[in-house]
Amino acid sequence: MSLSSRHLLGLNGVPKEDIQLILDTATTFREVLERPIKKVPTLQGKTIVNLFYEDSTRTRISFELAQKRLSADTINFSTSTSSVKKGETFKDTVRNIEAMKVDMIVVRHKSAGVPQYLTRISKANIINAGDGLHEHPTQGLLDMYSIKERLGKLEGLKVCIVGDIAHSRVALSNIFGLKSMGAIVSVCGPATMIPLGIESLGVKIFTNIDEAIAKNDVLNVLRIQLERNAGTRIPSLREYHKYFGITSDRIEKFNKEIVILHPGPINRGVELSSEVADGPYQVILDQVTNGVAVRMAVLYLLGTMH
């Protein structure tokens, strides 16, 4: 079994079989992570560059750890300066790195489309670690893995993504991936944070958070990102919390089982109250562990393809 593409650019258009294969492979690696010696020789001799043009801590660490667990050689290239400023162009940087003979590139960039662009200028396998407001496919995969781990399936589950959908790369990857796996996906948030045309993707919009809690099995709660100008689309974090924040009171009202995901880092007291963030419904730290296993699966499947 192998994947149908040699890159992972997003989950849009990725066949169900590919997602299933990644999730199944991740289960094997998840077991490896519980061993006393957490390393396998699978990607020995492969060179992977983590090309991070945007600040990231957890995604970069998670990828790096996954690479090390697979015995690959890893190089980190991080910069927050964009090529719009004077200096080397993005293309030249990539060409230089590639001239050092690398096999795979994991890329994060402020601009959507950079992973696609990379496939045109590089021969390496490309893995998208987040591009602009577009996709973050390994996050989508680890979210699906974590839901499945808790509830045993994806098909037929009702999943609502809550928060700033328009400015999230996690939302789209979740929507495409979950729909492909047969889940029923919806979104909920202030209308200023719901992008145009989202319903055409087969996604229901909840305008009221209580209704969203009542009618879903899973809530994937996004971080309100003030650095992405969220402040102009909501009056205040206080007001956001009051009308869209997930609190124990809100959940307990419905007296039901619900699974809560969050891609982190959490703004406690904004999108989640502390009781919820540390409470029985959340799987937030499982997501982090699963993230390493899922990334190992993706790296392994792409790195051993020929």
Partner: protein, 429 residues
């Protein structure tokens, strides 16, 4: 020197001309139309343009020549060469150069650069100093130096009060204000806002950002009596607003680019920066409304918004790449392929929109095809099939999404100012 254009099909709706004739041009002046003698053929250079169309020279009222400031991207000369190759004998160049065209010296500098070229170059000057939208530029002086219109192109004049003054002040010399209609507070995106931008994760610019300024500008044209020209119209609602304004006899005119009646936003799926422009490519419904607007005369003319960019600037991460594409050398072919051969416009309507109306809007004399007049002509073949090749273009820049596109219709020659461009070279005639 005498030349003969043999058996051309002369078309000029302005003069109600539609006839197959021999045309004798002596030292750049039309000397005879038909009735040529054997001796004329012996003493002239004869071009056998049998059945090719001959129209008053085409005019593109919206090009960026980048000089002064970005001569690495284009110059008055290379841009004029591209214009000649594309079938144009005249262009109006936009003021967003470096420095901006906001002083008489820069207007004169550009005119001086263009003086010996076949292509007439008419500068459009900045409406406000440094195109900042604050203080008016020395408009009267700029007009006197040769500016044919005023614009803060790249952006709309931000402040309605400033636009009011610009419109009123220009009444004294009759020039239009050319507006790039976009409300900046809603235009932080990089493509059309809609399902496609949502799917691609690219920030969008809503159509209403254009419609709002089109509406504001129409109301100010009505209020002041000044002339507003809407540059590169792209949205369905804006076309409707212009249509209604014209019904109400308000002085508003509009242009559209070939890419806005040919391409749609779904092409951005490859993140190819050659599809990044401002206004952005819109939806199929907008393209259809634009074609309707061209058919019923709501949209007066076609202009390229020729925007040369250096390769290294355009070949960049999508959100950082500059807007715009070159267009002079594909414009006529796209018009023929997409509008004439698809039966939306007649060739006469094309001549109105590409030769007559732009000059009317800018108060530039319209070339006549009659004895004693200066020969200012475009000869073109509406049926020639060819494939665009950016490496053969005269423009310095290569940022075109139409490279390798198969098109029908091509310019064969242009004649103006005692010069001819034919078979890839300029000659004096």
């Amino acid at each position: 020197m005498k030349i003969i254009l043999k058996q051309v099909l002369i078309l000029n709706p302005e003069q109600k001309l539609n006839q197959k004739s021999d045309l004798l041009i002596n030292d750049g002046i039309i000397e005879k139309i038909d009735g040529l003698k054997e001796a004329d053929f012996k003493s002239s250079k004869v071009f056998d343009f049998d059945n090719k169309l001959c129209s008053p020279g085409f005019f593109d009222m919206h090009v960026h020549l980048r000089e002064p400031g970005r001569e690495d991207e284009e110059t008055v000369e290379t841009g004029s060469n591209a214009a000649a190759a594309g079938g144009f004998t005249g262009v109006a160049c936009m003021p967003n150069t470096d420095p901006n065209i906001d002083s008489a010296e820069i207007v004169r500098f550009i005119k001086e650069k263009a003086k010996d070229h076949l292509v007439d170059v008419y500068p459009v000057a900045a409406a406000t100093l440094a195109r900042k939208g604050e203080a008016l530029s020395p408009m009267y002086e700029l007009f006197e130096a040769g500016a044919v219109a005023f614009s803060d192109d790249g952006v709309a004049i931000k402040n309605a009060g400033v636009l009011r003054n610009a419109l009123e002040y220009s009444i004294n010399f009759g020039t239009p204000i050319i507006e790039h209609c976009e409300d900046e507070s809603m235009a932080e995106g990089v493509m059309n806002e809609g399902l496609i931008s949502t799917t691609l994760g690219l920030p969008g610019i809503p159509k209403v950002a254009e419609d709002l300024i089109v509406m504001r500008d129409i109301m100010l044209a009505d209020f002041t009596g000044g002339k507003v020209h809407i540059a590169h119209i792209s949205s369905k609602k804006s076309v409707e607003l212009v249509r209604q304004a014209k019904k109400n006899k308000i002085s508003v005119t509009a242009e559209v680019t070939p890419h806005h009646f040919t391409l749609t936003d779904d092409l951005l799926k490859t993140y190819d920066t050659n599809y990044k422009m401002n206004p952005p490519l819109r939806s199929r419904a907008d393209v259809e409304a634009i074609i309707e607007g061209l058919k019923d005369g709501t949209i007066d003319c076609i202009a390229s918004d020729h925007a040369p960019h250096a390769i290294e600037e355009k070949e960049m991460e999508f959100i950082f790449a500059p807007n715009g594409i070159i267009g002079l050398e594909t414009e006529l072919s796209l018009v023929m392929s997409e509008l004439v051969h698809k039966k939306h416009l007649t060739v006469s309507q094309v001549i109105e929109k590409m030769a007559i109306n732009p000059r009317k809007i800018l108060s530039i004399p319209i070339p006549q095809i009659k004895i004693g007049e200066v020969a200012n002509l475009t000869i073109f073949d509406p049926d020639q099939i060819w494939t665009a090749d950016i490496n053969k273009f005269k423009s310095k820049a290569k940022n075109s999404p139409f490279d390798k596109r198969l098109m029908t219709g091509k310019s064969i020659a242009v004649i103006n100012k005692c010069k001819m461009f034919f078979e890839d070279k300029f000659t004096s005639i």
